[in-house]
């Protein structure tokens, strides 16, 4: 266990816990407005203070974590679900038109600045959490496809794959039974990183008003709402800002730690 892994795991699980706890309990109703109690700084009753409508910031952060996780998780799911099979297929038919088609398609998606396209997608389909998921998810596909193909290509040269082929297994079966388990550690590491990027992207889209719509709390929109009030109520921006930073930092550390932990080559090098 490295320090990265522990710190990253702690920060990430803190966020997961906050999101999970919000289903059962939040200090206040996250949507309940109490205008006379607006813009309170952190105090005994409202641990993180209140926003410009007098809503409890801690409750909003907790429920907002749910939004972030849901969007990022499904987006990574889309990326893995479509990207991994594509990458496996491309590697299995290396050099064929299928490989070329998949990889050039990947290049095409990669060539676009992802956030700009996400804005385009949400502008066309309408703003909302679901469309944000689709937009972020699409850009996860080539990431996973490339990683899978790259790792799978070297595996196809290995003896145990040759053995499997000699045993009469087809390409699809070899991919599923032998290649996939061996690229899994890479995918987990990449998934963690993409998860943190997804949270960042969701916050970005919400910040410009294209993510989750009110009254669904979202960290990015909380930041946007706080913008004109930073000079006299800095905690409104600090609280969601720190939530985003710590979560993304935590997931990145976790990803790093996991790679150190899971990658046998690195383990040998260290030893």
């Amino acid at each position: 266990m490295t320090r990265n892994l522990i710190l990253g795991g702690l920060l990430s699980s803190l966020m997961l816990l906050a999101a999970a706890a919000s289903f059962l309990w939040t200090p206040f109703d996250h949507a309940a407005m109490n205008i006379p109690a607006k813009l309170q700084t952190p105090n005994a009753q409202h641990w993180l203070g209140t926003d410009h409508f007098g809503r409890d910031l801690l409750s909003m952060i907790m429920v907002g974590a749910r939004t972030s996780i849901a969007v990022a998780l499904v987006a990574v799911g889309i990326g893995m679900g479509a990207g991994v099979p594509l990458g496996l297929a491309a590697a299995a038919r290396k050099g064929s038109w299928l490989d070329e088609g998949i990889m050039r398609g990947n290049d095409l998606v990669f060539a676009f600045p992802s956030l700009v396209i996400a804005i385009l997608i949400t502008a066309v389909l309408g703003a909302g959490a679901v469309n944000a998921i689709i937009a972020i998810g699409i850009f996860n596909i080539p990431v996973f496809a490339r990683i899978t193909r790259g790792a799978a290509l070297s595996l196809w040269e290995r003896e145990f794959i040759l053995a499997a082929r000699v045993a009469g297994k087809g390409a699809a079966r070899i991919s599923a039974e032998h290649i996939l388990p061996n690229v899994m550690n890479l995918l987990i590491v990449q998934g963690t990183i993409q998860f943190s990027l997804g949270i960042l992207a969701e916050a970005g889209l919400s910040y410009v008003g294209l993510g989750a719509q009110p009254p669904t709390p979202s960290w990015g929109r909380m930041l946007a709402d706080a913008q004109t009030m930073v000079s006299f109520a800095p905690h409104l921006a600090l609280v969601p800002g720190l939530a985003i930073i710590l979560t993304v930092l935590g997931l990145n550390l976790l990803g790093d730690g996991l790679r150190d932990h899971l990658d046998p080559k690195l383990r040998v090098a260290r030893a």
């Binding site: 407005m33 205008i35 006379p36 410009h52 008003g209 009254p215 913008q227 004109t228």
Partner: protein, 492 residues
């Protein structure tokens, strides 16, 4: 040689310092919205009037900062005994910025163009009832009406009724030529418009030699620009939450006034369940106006109970009709058959009164069981789908035209209120010239729409002006969208 360079540099530096020590003779004014073009007679955009009204273009009559209507290009007028013929005497020696004289033919051209069949005027209703405009002689214009119209002089003061010249009409959208105290200089799209003092102006020469309108749409950027003193004044500051900081800073003055903007929870009267007056009444009782004013406008705004400006002498305070009473709202909903509430949409255009106000309204409606889905839209979308397309349940919007209760007599208007009784009231109002009788009719009209709960009446939009401490002559209130540059000056 080196010495000479230094001397030149030093003297020019001195000149610069001297320049800033002298009283400023220009002003930079921030506006949130950039006008789409500069023709006030063919678009409703307020930003056009903010730039051109009384600065570039003038009408026969004009508004003053206190809302009164005074002579503009018409020096005086006579009204015939039966109230149907107005004879305007035009000022002598008025010239357009291109040097041509302004005479009765220009007035006839302008008004005929505004009221014509193919007119694109955004406020054509202002000219309804005019049957003929005649140029009696170069200084005299006669306007004939089909019936007496007590608000003609008021109508002619609007930015939509300014006098334009046939010679320069083709270029009006990008190169406006008017009679005002300032001439158009330059428009850098997306950034600024500059005007310069018109030395040929017929009236008193204004104090400031030049004016720049700078367009800053983002409230945070507006705040930064004001604080850095890049701009001298912001006409209507978009972030009310920042005003206390300006108030606490001796470099600035804050002018809180009123606008003609009735901010309403506009309701689609033709869309079920809002076609049931009990449902609309329930909406009205579900809303807590003071919370909306405090939460969305940080306390700036006056609660209204009908579609009428509180500073108008004919205003009646009808907020009691729709006091905040969630229990009554629930009872009314149950009576109308919606004991479990219903779902609808709430379209919100960009200004913070709508976006923030909408979040509060949605939360308040939720407490009585009405689930309003918030849909944030840009202005173009709002005009397209809500205003023209009429596909909405609820929306929040400020109606900023002065004295616009007449829109309730138009059944095709986007909230689609169709009441014979109200339409007759408006017809009666137009035929009445006696001020007291008009007030009585206006009050009856206010009662009528309030009792029918046509829309949710929220608050009168405040005008939140911020300026440097030394700038004098800014309008505190906004009887119309305008920034009267000729009234501005810098204190010594």
């Amino acid at each position: 040689m080196a010495f000479r360079t230094f001397a030149v540099a030093a003297s020019s530096a001195l000149a610069l310092m001297a320049g800033s020590a002298w009283a400023k003779d220009g002003v930079t004014i921030g506006l949130q919205l950039e006008p789409p073009h500069l023709d006030p007679t063919s678009a409703a955009a307020q930003a056009i009037d903010s730039v051109v009204y009384s600065n570039i273009f003038e009408g026969l009559t004009r508004f003053m900062g206190d809302g009164s209507v005074v002579p503009g290009l018409a020096e005086s007028w006579e009204i015939s005994g039966d109230g149907t013929v107005y004879t305007f005497k035009l000022r002598e020696g008025v010239r357009f910025h291109d040097g041509s004289t302004m005479d009765a033919e220009d007035v006839k051209f302008s008004l005929d163009r505004a009221r014509g069949e193919d007119s694109t005027n955004a406020q054509k209703a202002l000219f309804e009832g005019i049957t003929a405009v005649n140029a009696v002689d170069p200084q005299t214009v006669q306007i004939t009406l089909d019936a007496p119209n007590g608000s003609l002089l008021f109508n002619l003061a609007w930015g939509d009724a300014v006098i334009v010249a046939p010679e320069s009409i083709d270029g009006i959208k990008t190169d406006p030529v008017g009679t005002g105290a300032y001439t158009f200089q330059e428009w850098v799209q997306g950034d600024r418009i500059t005007l310069a003092r018109n030395p040929e102006y017929w009236g008193d020469q204004p104090a400031l030699a030049s004016a720049t309108f700078k367009f800053i749409s983002d409230p945070t950027a507006a705040f930064a620009a004001m604080m850095a003193e890049d701009i001298d004044a912001f006409d209507n500051f978009p972030a009310p939450e920042n005003l206390p900081q300006f108030e606490a800073d001796p470099r600035f003055q804050v002018l809180v006034g009123s606008t003609e903007g009735e901010t309403i929870l506009s309701t689609n009267n033709k869309q079920p369940p809002f076609d049931d007056v009990r449902v609309r009444q329930a909406l009205a009782h579900a809303i807590d106006r003071q919370s909306i004013i405090d939460g969305a406008m940080f306390g700036y705004g006056t609660p209204i109970g009908t579609h009428f400006a509180p500073h108008n002498p004919a205003y009646r305070d009808l907020t009691g009709h729709s006091a905040h009473d969630p229990d009554k709202a629930r009872a009314l909903l149950a009576e109308a058959g919606f004991a479990d509430g219903f779902e609808t949409t709430l379209h919100l255009p960009p200004p913070s009164y709508a976006r923030r106000g909408g979040e509060i309204v949605a939360a308040q409606l939720a407490t009585v069981g009405i689930k309003a889905e918030i849909i944030n839209v840009e202005w173009a979308q709002w005009l397209e789908s809500v205003f023209r397309g009429k596909s909405f349940g609820l929306t929040i919007i400020s109606h900023t035209e002065p004295m616009d209760i007449g829109i309730y007599a138009r059944p095709e208007y986007y909230f689609q209120y169709d009441s014979k009784q109200f339409q007759e009231l408006m017809a009666k109002l137009n035929a009445t010239t006696d001020p007291e009788a008009r007030t009585a009719i206006l009050q009856e009209a206010q009662e009528k729409i309030s009792a029918d709960y046509v829309n949710g009446y929220l608050f009168q939009l405040a005008k939140l002006g911020v300026a440097k401490a030394g700038l004098q002559g800014l309008w505190e209130n906004a009887p119309t969208a305008a920034i009267d540059l000729s009234a501005l000056s810098w204190a010594e």
